[in-house]
Every structure is written in C-alpha cells, then in structure tokens.
C-alpha cells in the first residue's frame, strides 16, 4: 500500500527549506508527496488534501503563526468533511506551545533537531491509522 501525504505551508511565511526537506525525506522513504508550495490558506490546503485523498497532512511554519494557522487547517479539514485526515506540524515552535497544539488536534509536533526518522515514523503511523478506517 502506497501512502499519499500532503505537505503545505499555510500563511505568509515563505521559508520553505524545512517543508521541502521533509517532502524529499518522505519521498525517499517511499511516500507519494503532494507539495502545495508556499503561502496557502488553510481552506486551500484542506481542499487539496481532499482532492488528492491523502492519508495525512504535514504543515511547516517558521514565522510564529503556528498557533493560529495549524488549528485553522484542522478546522478547514473538518469543514470539508475530512476530520479523519490527521494533521502533523513542524518548524520553529516553542516548547510551551506543543501541548496547546496537541489539544487543538495536531497529531504530532516536530521542533528543530527532531531526527528525520522520527518524523517518517510518525507519518507512517498516522497514515496507517487513517487508512484503517476504510471508505468514508
């Protein structure tokens, strides 16, 4: 089974080196990665995730807007009838925000220095769980 994931950058932050690094790492781990590019709205990311039927969405933020934007993607997915698609996030995220983000429905948060294997394992786990639900 091939897992399809979407990597997106919500908001005005244009620093996409991290997002591209993760996209490449996931590709090399055998994922089919759909990359949306920078400066997307949460609604655009959710619509793309639905059309591409991905098993997980990964978000990257370097600008400090994660507290607002990551949960907005979770909400946008729910509005699109896709609350079963898990959202994972990473970037410059202070330790004290991690718990807040988890409570807002972000499945996993990766801060700088997280080994890439940990990130790949988290995506694999999230995809496996999502696909286990069957046709929705």
């Amino acid at each position: 089974m091939k897992y399809r994931v979407l990597i997106g950058k919500p908001g005005l932050d244009g620093h996409d080196r991290g997002a591209k690094f993760i996209a490449r790492a996931l590709r090399d781990a055998g994922f089919e990665v759909i990359y949306t590019g920078i400066r997307r709205t949460p609604a655009e990311i959710a619509a793309a995730a639905v059309q591409e039927d991905v098993a997980a969405v990964g978000l990257s933020s370097m600008s400090g807007a994660h507290l607002r934007l990551f949960p907005a993607v979770v909400d946008a997915l729910a509005q699109a009838g896709a609350d079963d698609i898990p959202v994972l996030g990473g970037g410059i995220i202070p330790a004290e925000d991690v718990e807040t983000m988890r409570k807002a429905g972000i499945r996993a948060i990766f801060t700088p220095g997280t080994p890439v294997d940990t990130i790949i394992a988290a995506f694999t786990e999230a995809c496996k769980k999502q696909r286990g639900h069957g046709v929705k």
């Binding site: 089974m1 590709r27 089919e32 990665v33 590019g37 619509a47 059309q51 591409e52 039927d53 929705k136």
Partner: protein
C-alpha cells in the same frame, strides 16, 4: 454481481460531484482494490461518452502545468467543470514521488468545479494506463466536460498515457534544442496540436517555423500550430477554440470513436497484465522448474495460467 452498498453510496455521491467521494473512488482504482470493478461498472456512461480527454505532453519546463492552469481558467469562463490528472514519475529506487504540479494550479484550489489529482507513475508496478484511464472516467462521471491528462511524454508508460487521450497537444518552448530533438522524442507523430509556449521568448519564431514543416497542408499548418504565453494567458482562448473545433471534427469523422476503441484495448491489456502478474508471482513461489533457462522456465510458468482466472 451483488453490489456492495458502500460502493453504491460512493457512486451516488460521486455522480453528485462530491469531492471526497470522487477522490476516494480514484484511490480505490489506483490501489487496485477489489471494489474498483463494481465502482467502474456503475459510472454514468453518457457523461463518459461526452467528455473530452485532452492529453497535454511535452518536455519538463515547457510550461505544461502553467498552460493547464491557463486552460482551466478559460474553460471555467465558459462554465465547464474540469478535471486534471497530473502525472509525475515515481522514484525507481524508493518508489516514492514528489508531486508538485498543483503549485501552478492553486488559484483554482477553492473552485469545486475544478478537480485536480496528482498521480505517480509507480514505475515497475505498472498499471498506470489502467489507473489514469479509470480516473479520467471517474472525473467524467462526476460531471467534468474536459479532463486534462498532463504528463511528460518520455518513456513507454508515458507514451501509452498519451494514447489514452481523445486529442493530444504537444507543448514545446524555445531553448530546448532544434527540431531534430523534437523529432527524436518520437512524440510529434501522436500530437494533434503543436503548442509553442513562451512565445514571447527569443527563438519562439524559429521554433514555430520548424514546427510548420511537420504539417504539409498549409491549412492544417495554420490550424494545428498555436503560439501561447501561458503565464499571461495569451493565445489560450484561441488554443481552446481549436481544441473544441478538432473535437467536433474527430467526433463526426469517427476518429474519436477509433481512439476510444484503441484506449479501451490498451487499458484492458494493462488490467489483464496486472491480474496475470499477481497470479504469476504466486505461482513462481511454488513452481519447481525442469529448466534452468529463464526463457524455458517462463513457458512452464505461463502454461495453464489463463485457466486459473
């Protein structure tokens, strides 16, 4: 065949244009799930008959995705629902893929009448024709008037994809080498329309002149070669007019029906190979061969395989 009620519901939602159902249906086919057969058999045949499957091919960097985006804008102005299947290669090493064609089409991301699906070639696993052809029909059944199949026209599986289309446009741009390069690719023979994109760039005029030699008939030359600047939408409305003119022509002279027949055969063969391949892999594990020569062993392996299905 007894119908799975989950699939019946999926079909109903898909015919109503529900984006989630549409996406799920394509996944079922792409992953070769057993439910796919019931799903595909239940699609609205009238809509499939009426759709135009437009192949868009050309070298990387010629502007295929940008042109697709511009064509979608033009089609939406005429109030048509559009589907796009953007095919990118899978890595032969990891089996993974990075699918980035959406980036050039994000302006349509919130338009529910524009359906975009990225698809990886999945290399050795094959079955790409079967998946892409089925995805095009699923999009058609959801109400798309045009489905654009976008792919790099290099290599056998991509060439087969091009043959799935009712009508194919080859997208070229100046700076990719001379006309000999274009002829080498072997793709000129299957192109119905030649699009010289980036027509505002140096060398575009020369490229157009070179392409003119492809068509002997001056009238055809006039109608089959288009100049565009996709990022500014220049020439795109004219291109779309020519596409629809050609579609009408192909529908009335039987060309379209002939191509549909060919793509039916292509897809059927693709599915058959997939089915048999799985069976052969199983049989390979248990067969004790009398020959150590692969060619002979292969004959032993295939003997009686058809009877098992």
């Amino acid at each position: 065949m007894k119908g799975d009620p989950t699939i019946d519901r999926l079909l109903q939602r898909l015919h109503g244009g529900d984006p989630r159902a549409l996406a799920r249906a394509i996944t079922l086919v792409e992953d070769q799930q057993p439910e796919a057969a019931q799903l595909l058999a239940g699609l609205d045949q009238k809509r499939i008959e009426d759709v135009l499957v437009l192949g868009l091919t050309g070298p990387p960097g010629a502007g295929k995705s940008t042109l697709t985006g511009a064509l979608v804008t033009a089609l939406r102005k005429r109030e048509y629902r559009v589907g796009i299947i953007a095919i990118d290669p899978s890595s032969p090493i990891s089996g993974g893929a990075l699918l980035g064609d959406r980036i050039r089409m994000m302006e349509h991301a919130l338009d529910r009448e524009v359906v975009v699906r990225s698809m990886a070639t999945r290399g050795r696993l094959g079955g790409l024709c079967a998946s892409a052809g089925a995805a095009a029909r699923i999009m058609a059944a959801s109400g798309c008037r045009v489905v654009i199949l976008e792919t790099v026209g290099i290599g056998q599986s991509e060439m087969d994809i091009v043959r799935l289309a009712d009508l194919t446009a080859l997208v070229l741009a100046p700076g990719f080498g001379d006309d000999i390069q274009a002829m080498k690719a072997g793709i000129l023979e299957v192109a119905d329309l030649l699009v010289v994109n980036k027509a505002d760039q140096p060398g575009a005029g020369k490229l157009q002149l070179e392409m003119a030699t492809v068509f002997a008939d001056p009238k055809e030359r006039e109608e089959r070669i288009c100049a565009t600047v996709a990022c500014e939408s220049a020439g795109v409305a004219t291109l779309l007019d020519r596409i629809f003119t050609l579609e009408r022509e192909f529908r009335s002279n039987g060309q379209l029906q002939a191509r549909r027949k060919r793509s039916f055969q292509l897809e059927t063969l693709d599915w058959a190979v997939e089915i048999v391949k799985a069976d052969l892999r199983e049989k390979l594990k248990t067969t004790i061969f009398t020959s150590t020569e692969p060619r002979r062993a292969a004959m032993e392996l295939v003997s009686g395989i058809g009877k098992r299905i």
